[in-house]
């Protein structure tokens, strides 16, 4: 235990002492021009080389695994944040007529409008429509997060009043988003869903999932392709790109992200499990710059759980016995049916995985009679 840490320390000491020998080198490591960014320790790069490096990583992740078929219908999940803005930009460039080795799929964009959850947030629908429909001219599908729910099942009320913890709220929103994205993809006959999940976020997500009992799904959540849904495969081309690299790329190309506040904005580092974990990962990353990539590489060595039965909340394979996974409480069963599954019959049995079962314990069943 201690010895591995000491070896790391020695290596780190050597690295530190090695690079502090003289004035900091300002030349790009690849082409020896003047550097402008440093994203890896001791590796300054000029703008051109950095962009090449960034785009190359993105393209090779996609082409290495032959993910997309020619003319395939692909749905891009756009949230307005920095990662999805960078993703949109890269895909737009890759699909454009003059692109080198042009991408061969058909793109559509989905945006989930969460403004109904907050009382004081202005919807960014117009900005999104302007960007995607008017400027980029891709088919755009906007849904509200409480789409298809009638008055009785107010999602906002569920979240704010009947869910006790911020952790549970975040997790419910996360699952709801995914469900809506799958719905749009299936409706529009898209067989792939691309998300902008980057390495830093995935690393925090991995640990946060471990803390909530979702260890069985870590391999699925950080993989390039995620086939939890038989009809739509999730693709994560940014999985090996850190948030810092994305921020640099956005800066150099003046890519703007839209305001995307969510329920945990400004709620403090100890307010939910994910916030706590994100703080831990960022703090560790500052002291030990290999933290994020090590977490990621470790989970990359994990095997996917292949059980056929799926959780009705998160669509991942079950990690507990089928009989243990049944929800007995009628009200919670109804809740799952209304928000997450498409079954018209709300008396059908509901199966959930360990983490979703734990999550539901934090949600008060609706005590009003219908």
């Amino acid at each position: 235990m201690c010895q591995i840490n000491e070896e790391d320390d020695e290596a780190f000491q050597a690295l530190k002492s090695g690079t502090n020998k003289g004035p900091i080198s300002r030349k790009c490591v690849s082409c020896d021009q003047d550097a402008c960014v440093v994203v890896r320790t001791a590796d300054p790069m000029c703008r051109k080389c950095f962009e090449e490096f960034f785009i190359h990583k993105f393209r090779s992740t996609l082409s290495k695994s032959n993910v997309f078929g020619r003319g395939e219908n692909v749905l891009l999940a756009y949230s307005g944040g920095s990662s999805s803005s960078a993703l949109l930009h890269l895909i737009a460039e890759g699909l454009s007529v003059q692109a080198r080795r042009r991408l061969q799929f058909q793109a559509q964009v989905a945006f989930i409008d969460e403004s109904s959850l907050y009382s004081d947030v202005v919807s960014v629908r117009e900005k999104v429509t302007d960007l995607i429909t008017n400027r980029l001219q891709y088919p755009l599908h906007i849904v509200s997060i409480d789409d298809n729910l009638d008055k009785d099942d107010d999602f906002q009320q569920l979240l704010l009043e009947r869910t006790k913890t911020l952790t549970a709220r975040e997790e419910l929103v996360r699952r709801r988003r995914l469900k809506l994205l799958f719905d749009i993809a299936i409706r529009e006959k898209c067989t792939k869903l691309i998300t902008g999940d980057n390495c830093t976020k995935l690393a925090a997500q991995i640990l946060s999932d471990m803390a909530q009992g979702k260890g069985a799904h870590v391999a699925l959540e950080c993989n390039l392709t995620d086939s939890r849904n038989d009809l739509v495969t999730i693709v994560r081309p940014f999985r090996e790109i850190t948030s810092k690299e994305i921020a640099m790329y956005n800066r150099l190309n003046s890519i703007e992200s839209l305001q995307n506040a969510d329920i945990s904005t400004m709620s403090g580092p100890q307010s939910s499990i994910f916030q706590l974990t994100e703080t831990l990962v960022n703090d560790l990353q500052r002291q030990f710059p290999s933290t994020v990539s090590t977490i990621f590489r470790t989970s990359d060595k994990l095997e996917k759980n292949i059980r056929p039965e799926r959780c009705d909340l998160c669509c991942c394979p079950l990690d507990i016995n089928v009989d243990e996974s049944l929800i007995s409480d009628q009200n919670r069963q109804k809740l799952v049916h209304q928000l997450f599954t498409t079954s018209p019959n709300s008396n059908e049995p509901v199966h959930v995985c360990y983490a979703c079962r734990r999550l539901l314990r934090d949600v008060q069943p609706n005590v009003q009679s219908h």
Binding site: C2, M210, S272, L280, L284, T294
Partner: protein
């Protein structure tokens, strides 16, 4: 309004505490019952013991081993496990530090009426920690005072390496000497949760696979070395509950933190887990569940488990770490086995006492190059 009566005995007795695991109010008696019953269920479900076995309880004098010894003795009698229990304690030979915890273990022997065996580093390895520290001190021309033994070691010498390696093997070597069937250690749920996260953060996939196993070293484990199976009956017991149990039962223990490794890294994880527990008490068990679900890809490269040439202990290198460290101490090269060892390996092979021809040690290549120059 929070209930002020125990949820377990349905209000027969007033609640005395809130159970950390479930955040429900419990009276003392029901808490003891629940705590003991859960450990019994773990032992039965995971088939940890067989009747007639001799079990060495690793006793350090700390809260975990005291509670473990107490509960195992109690359950052994209550449920007729048919076990012979023995307290096994290791004396590292650190004056001023270990003495107190050893006194506690000796008192435990009286209190629980269990036989106690104390083995010293000196008799197991030929070196006590005091002597190791002296050897380093002489080498570096450091003078030190008696009281600040461990502080000196803490700051100027990575003795965590020695302590960790030696202690892990000491239990096994001791148990082998005494021919016990199994070792029981006091690892609790918090320890295991910490270890799972540490292994993810360090990228140690091999340990990640093993650390959630409640028993290691029995027939299901495919290592070749002769090691005694060791189990963790307290695997699902929260540290907070262990402290509460020891407190209410007035058990005798010596509260020491390991002063040897300030190990700032593990401290970060400790804090994180404590914060998690505050947010959601079930997190600790949830992390363990997560860890148990992890499957390693078949194609992943794992360190080969082989057997040390000197002492036949299981090892991933031709010579196990403990033998390497002792070798270094004996030859006056105490840093051997710590940090970069290339230079020292070359030194050792020049004296032709390193690896044999059949060894898989990669210094064989260097040996050839050295001979060529000669």
């Amino acid at each position: 309004m929070p209930s002020a009566t125990c949820v377990s005995c349905n209000g027969q007795r007033p609640a005395a505490l809130v159970r950390p695991k479930t955040s429900e109010p419990y009276c003392k008696q029901c808490f003891f019952d629940a705590f003991e019953r859960e450990i019994h269920e773990t032992i039965v479900k995971e088939q940890l013991f067989k009747p007639g076995e001799t079990i060495a309880v690793a006793a350090s004098g700390g809260k975990d081993s005291t509670v473990l010894a107490h509960v195992l003795k109690l359950l052994n009698e209550r449920h007729s496990y048919g076990l012979k229990l023995v307290l096994l304690s290791i004396d590292e030979g650190i004056t001023g530090y270990r003495d107190d915890s050893l006194e506690t273990v000796k008192r435990n022997q009286q209190q629980y009426e269990l036989p106690l065996i104390i083995l010293t580093y000196k008799e197991l390895y030929g070196w006590s920690m005091d002597e190791i520290v002296k050897a380093v001190g002489r080498k570096n021309n450091f003078s030190y005072s008696h009281e600040f033994h461990y502080l000196f070691v803490l700051y100027f010498f990575p003795s965590g390496t020695f302590c960790g390696v030696f202690r892990r093997q000491a239990l096994d070597r001791g148990a082998m000497k005494l021919s016990v069937n199994k070792i029981a250690t006091g690892h609790n749920a918090d320890d295991i949760a910490e270890t799972i996260l540490m292994n993810i953060l360090r990228g140690d996939i091999a340990r990640l696979k093993r650390c959630t196993l409640i028993m290691t070293g029995d027939e299901s484990d495919d290592s070749e070395g002769s090691i005694i199976p060791r189990c963790k009956p307290l695997k699902y017991a929260y540290e907070k509950e262990i402290v509460l149990y020891a407190f209410y039962k007035r058990l005798d223990y010596f509260s020491t933190e390991c002063l040897y490794s300030p190990n700032a890294y593990r401290g970060n994880i400790r804090t994180y887990i404590k914060d998690l527990e505050r947010l959601r008490p079930s997190s600790i068990i949830d992390i363990i569940h997560s860890g148990e679900q992890l499957l390693v890809k078949q194609s992943t490269k794992m360190p080969v488990q082989r057997v040390c040439e000197r002492c036949s202990y299981c090892s991933s290198m031709p010579i196990c770490k403990a033998c390497l460290l002792i070798e270094g101490l004996n030859k006056g090269v105490p840093k051997l086995g710590i940090g970069k060892t290339e230079r020292y390996r070359k030194e050792m092979q020049k004296k032709d006492e390193c690896c044999s021809d059949q060894s898989l040690c990669h210094c064989m290549k260097e040996k050839l190059t050295v001979n060529e120059h000669n």
